[in-house]
Every structure is written in structure tokens, then in C-alpha cells.
């Protein structure tokens, strides 16, 4: 087995979650571990970060066509590196970009893709991936049947460990992307801002979803948060509907939180949202849809109408606190 790890970066720093995957690949320790960096001019400067986490060879594709975070040119690069370098195992840490690259590569190379893995081990000469299914209620052990094996790990599954500075062997990759890989062009980029309420430090968060029914009902989440001494969060759909600012968004593309208590009101529980709040200690969900995915990963699932339950709950908490 020789493993290749795709490393995402912001131009100066490789994502810690990717370095975690690289660390895991190194720790399995049964073959060469290659790392792939794709980006604009100057990307090669990041190679030592990869070497410090165990990459023996760092493949660098740096060119202006790779500067924008498009998935398809990265499929072209990875296919070339895997084939010319003889790599049979390709690992990714999940992100919007990495998921699209991994699936595109799976189709390109007719290689099996196991996704949302939280761990991996070698058993009787075979790689066994571990995936939590049905809202984390079942642990599924998975494997591959193809010559090339692709794995997409849940973000933050492994800690990055630096083994100290090392001089990597850098190999420049001169891939010419396919025409359709370059068809989409990014014409504008607006970086994420970090202002807004300190959701990351909050001990109690009450999040409102589309199930609240309208912006006029968002006050319900605010009142519950207030009486519990907490902060209000929102799902992406609510932010896009214009009910509240994007600084309140919790999820994969919003903020990541881990409060003691997380109360979700009318939140469906899309993966996009789960990724941002699954480390909360206690999760309470109220939703009128009995099939809402959030009910599969909460501690208390309440099937009912937020508009009757939450006001009653606010009153009860008020009475208990003697106000």
C-alpha cells in the first residue's frame, strides 16, 4: 500500500485537518506516504509543513490555473500523480472542495470511495474504514474492491502530529487540465468574516431553523436563549432567508461550536449543520417533522410544534428561576 494525501491550504497554511489525515497515513507506516499540494504560484513553500507530518514525497502542482479552488483541475492532478507515482490509496479530509475532488476522482479512476469515515485500520492485509451511519447510531465497517481505494474522512478525525522539521522530496507536477475541468471560473471571492456573537465560547446555544416558520418567530429562539443565559445561532437556510446575519450561522460553512447545551428549534439537521455542532455535550431538538435527520443525533428528541412548546418551556424555566 502506498498512500497519497490531498492537502488543502489557504496559501500560507495547510489545513490542520488535512495534516491530521497525513499523520494517520504515516502512522499506519506500511509504505511510502505522498502528499499533494495544488495551488497558485508559491504553493511549493508549504511543502515543509507536509514533510513535518510524515510525507516522504510532496507533489506540487503550482500554476495560476490552479489558484482558484476549483475541484475538477485537482481531479486531473491527482489522477496523474496516482498513476505516475503508483499510489493505490488516496485520502482526503472532508470539505466542500475535497468532497467534490474525491467523487470526481472516484468516477475518473473507477475507484471505490468510502466517505464520512471517522477512523481507518489495517486488518488482515486489508484496509477497513469506519463510518458512523444513521445519524451516528450505527458503526459501519467498510472496505474497497477496486485497485485504487479512496477515503474521505470526517473533518477533524485525526490530530496532526509534527515529527519535526524535515526536508521533503519535492516533485513538480505539470498537469494540463482537461477542457471541461476549466470551464467553470470563479469571478469573485468574498472571504468569511469572524464578527458577530461569540458562539464558539457560549455554554448554551439556541439555534433557530426554517421550521420556526418566519423571521417574526425568530424571537422565540432569542427569548429561550436569554432565559437560559445563552446565545442564539442560526442555520444556513435561515441566514439566506435574511432572518439574521451570517455571523450567526452554525455549520460546515459557518461556525463550529461545542456548548454544554445545544437546543435546536425547527432545525432539520442537514450534514452541513451537524458538522458545526456535533461536539455539543447535550443536544435537544424540537421539530414537528418526525423524520428530521436531527432526531438521529440528539439526546432529547421532541416531536412537536415549537410555537406551543417553547413559550410553555420559557414560562416553566421562568417559574423555576423565580422570575
Amino acid at each position: 500500500m502506498s498512500t497519497l494525501v490531498f492537502l488543502e491550504h489557504d496559501g500560507t497554511q495547510i489545513d490542520a485537518a488535512c495534516l491530521g489525515v497525513l499523520t494517520k497515513a504515516t502512522s499506519l507506516g506500511d509504505g511510502a506516504v505522498g502528499a499533494v499540494l495544488v495551488g497558485g504560484t508559491g504553493t511549493a513553500a508549504l511543502a515543509p509543513q507536509a514533510a513535518a507530518c510524515g510525507a516522504t514525497t510532496v507533489f506540487v502542482a503550482e500554476d495560476e490555473v490552479f489558484a482558484a479552488p476549483r475541484s475538477q483541475p485537482r481531479v486531473d492532478v491527482l489522477e496523474e500523480v496516482a498513476k505516475t507515482g503508483g499510489y493505490d490509496t488516496i485520502w482526503f479530509s472532508n470539505s466542500v472542495l475535497a468532497a467534490d475532488v474525491a467523487a470526481g476522482l472516484s468516477a475518473r479512476m473507477a475507484a471505490g470511495l468510502n466517505w464520512d469515515l471517522v477512523d481507518i485500520e489495517r486488518r488482515d492485509g486489508q484496509l477497513v474504514g469506519k463510518r458512523l451511519a444513521l445519524g451516528d447510531s450505527v458503526l459501519v465497517e467498510v472496505s474497497w474492491r477496486s485497485a485504487c481505494q479512496i477515503a474521505l474522512f470526517r473533518t477533524g478525525s485525526f490530530e496532526a502530529q509534527s515529527t519535526g522539521a524535515a526536508e521533503p522530496e519535492i516533485r513538480t507536477v505539470n498537469t494540463t487540465p482537461r477542457p471541461y475541468s476549466l470551464a467553470a471560473s470563479i469571478v469573485e471571492h468574498v472571504p468569511k468574516t469572524d464578527e458577530g456573537p461569540a458562539l464558539e465560547d457560549a455554554e448554551v446555544i439556541v439555534t433557530g431553523g426554517m421550521g420556526l416558520g418566519g423571521p417574526e418567530h425568530f424571537a422565540l429562539a432569542e427569548r429561550l436563549a436569554e432565559i437560559l443565559g445563552g446565545v442564539v445561532g442560526a442555520t444556513r437556510a435561515v441566514v439566506y432567508a435574511g432572518w439574521c446575519p451570517s455571523s450567526m450561522q452554525i455549520g460546515q460553512t459557518g461556525k463550529t461550536v461545542s456548548p454544554k447545551l445545544y437546543i435546536a428549534l425547527g432545525v432539520s439537521g442537514a450534514v452541513q449543520h451537524r458538522v458545526g455542532m456535533q461536539r455539543s455535550k447535550t443536544i435537544v431538538a424540537i421539530n414537528k417533522d418526525p423524520n428530521a435527520p436531527i432526531f438521529e443525533f440528539c439526546d432529547l428528541a421532541v416531536v412537536g410544534d415549537v410555537h406551543t412548546i417553547v413559550p410553555a418551556l420559557i414560562d416553566l424555566i421562568g417559574q423555576r428561576k423565580g422570575t
Binding site: 470526481g104 472516484s106 450505527v138 467553470a184 438521529e296 432529547l300
Partner: protein, 258 residues
């Protein structure tokens, strides 16, 4: 454009379970249209309503009862539906499924293909990218805004690093988020109209797909075992019969969260 395709999935209704023998999702019971696909359908219908397309087709692969979900898509406003249902396709993994969908899309040749952001019965949110690769078309996922231009699309997508505005020529494949729109309700008139709309059921043979390239045989991933994970503690479920607030209060008190 003359045609927009929406790929939809029929998912189990109610509590989902994995069949311990086949180690696959139990799809024998009642099902419903994947909730996240409603946003994809809504976006296609809005393009048609704005005279940006003449036909919206719903495409799915699944067991015969998946036609229930396609009827829902037709009731919402899709003009036509295509279901690939074949025993040889059962047990298809992501890659095998992408081959079947790409087969239908290659036959239909829509200018735009739209996916929802995920299936509610699994966490796979990657299928579109494999389908686009097989069709050799540009693809963008996590789309939160979509505008049809002359022979092209302008979309906004959200990533961990912020928002990107992307332009791409048609034909193309996109996956839209649940933030892009609020899906319309199915009207009674829509339900009546759906009964008369064409719903075609195809086998792999009719699509010219080699059965060994899909289903369990064509899948390049396999499930070895099912186990109980280190649990976050068993979850408690309450169906509100008027006392939910009291029950939540005692739950919070018990855990010393008040």
C-alpha cells in the same frame, strides 16, 4: 434552455434501519421524496417559471415504489419523470449509482442538471461530482444562488472559506443547498395533474448499461460489519401530547443544565 433535469431520491419514511443480512439500508417499507431534493426541484421550476426552460424532468434510480416520490415531483410541477428500476441495480454504491444516473442524463441531454445537497438517508454528499465527471461537464456544489445567463450560469456557492461567485457554460451540473429557496407546497391541483403526466420506468438494458458495472457487482466499496458505536448515550424521544415543555424541563434539570 429546453430541458432541466433534477436528480431525486426515494428515501425510507420514518425510522431508518440497516438490514443486518444485506448490510444495506432497508428500503422495503414506505418512503418519501428526499426533503433536500425539494430545493433542487423548486430551483428547476423557478427557472421554468421565468421562461428560462421549457421542460423539467425528474430522474431517479430506486425500487419500483420510488415512483411515489417521482409522482410527488410531478405534483410539484415537473413535466415528466424517469425512474431506473432494475433488480441488478440494487445495492449500488455511490460510483455505481453515478453510472446509472449518467446513463439517463446522457440519453436526455439536459442543459442543466440539479441535485439537492444530500440524501436524508445517508450522509453522502458527493454524487453530483461523479456524475459530472462521467458526463465530462463542469460541476459546482453548495450553490446558494443561481442565475441563468445566455448559454451559461452564474452561481454563488458557500465554502469553509467564504462565498465564491462562479460562472460556467451550459450544459452543466450543480448541487443546490437548502438555503437557495423555499420549496412550494404541492397543491391538490398539482396532485391531480401529476396522475396524467408521463412517468417512464426503465431497465438497465433499455439504457444500454452493462449490469455488471452497477449494483453489488459493479460497486467498488463494500460493507464488512455493522456495530454499535461508542454511543453519546441513548437518545430519548418524546411525541408531544401537551406535556413536552414539562418533560424538557425535567430533562434539563436532571442534567443540571438550568
Amino acid at each position: 434552455m429546453d430541458k432541466v433535469a433534477v436528480c431525486v431520491k426515494h428515501v425510507p419514511d420514518g425510522r431508518m434501519r440497516i438490514d443486518p443480512d444485506s448490510k444495506r439500508m432497508d428500503r422495503s417499507g414506505p418512503g418519501e421524496l428526499n426533503a433536500f431534493d425539494l430545493n433542487a426541484l423548486e430551483e428547476a421550476l423557478r427557472i421554468k417559471d421565468a421562461a428560462g426552460a421549457t421542460e423539467v424532468i425528474a430522474v431517479s434510480m430506486g425500487p419500483p415504489q420510488a415512483d411515489d416520490s417521482l409522482r410527488t415531483a410531478l405534483a410539484m410541477g415537473a413535466d415528466r419523470a424517469v425512474l431506473v428500476s432494475d433488480p441488478d441495480a440494487a445495492g449500488s454504491d455511490m460510483l455505481a449509482t453515478s453510472r446509472v444516473l449518467a446513463g439517463v442524463l446522457d440519453r436526455e441531454r439536459p442543459q442543466l442538471t440539479i441535485f439537492g445537497q444530500q440524501a436524508s438517508d445517508g450522509t453522502g454528499a458527493v454524487l453530483w461530482s461523479a456524475v459530472a465527471e462521467l458526463l465530462q461537464l463542469p460541476v459546482v456544489s453548495q450553490v446558494t444562488e443561481l442565475t441563468v445567463l445566455e448559454g451559461a450560469l452564474r452561481v454563488k456557492r458557500q465554502t469553509e472559506r467564504g462565498d465564491d461567485v462562479i460562472e460556467m457554460p451550459l450544459p452543466a451540473v450543480v448541487a443546490v443547498t437548502d438555503a437557495i429557496n423555499e420549496p412550494r407546497y404541492v397543491s391538490l391541483r398539482g396532485q391531480m395533474a401529476a396522475k396524467r403526466k408521463p412517468l417512464e420506468t426503465l431497465t438497465l438494458g433499455e439504457l444500454g448499461i452493462d449490469p455488471s458495472s452497477v449494483g453489488v457487482t459493479g460497486s467498488m466499496t463494500t460493507v464488512l460489519n455493522l456495530a454499535t458505536p461508542p454511543s453519546r448515550g441513548s437518545s430519548i424521544r418524546i411525541d408531544d401530547e401537551g406535556h413536552a415543555a414539562e418533560e424538557i424541563l425535567s430533562f434539563l434539570a436532571q442534567r443540571e443544565l438550568l
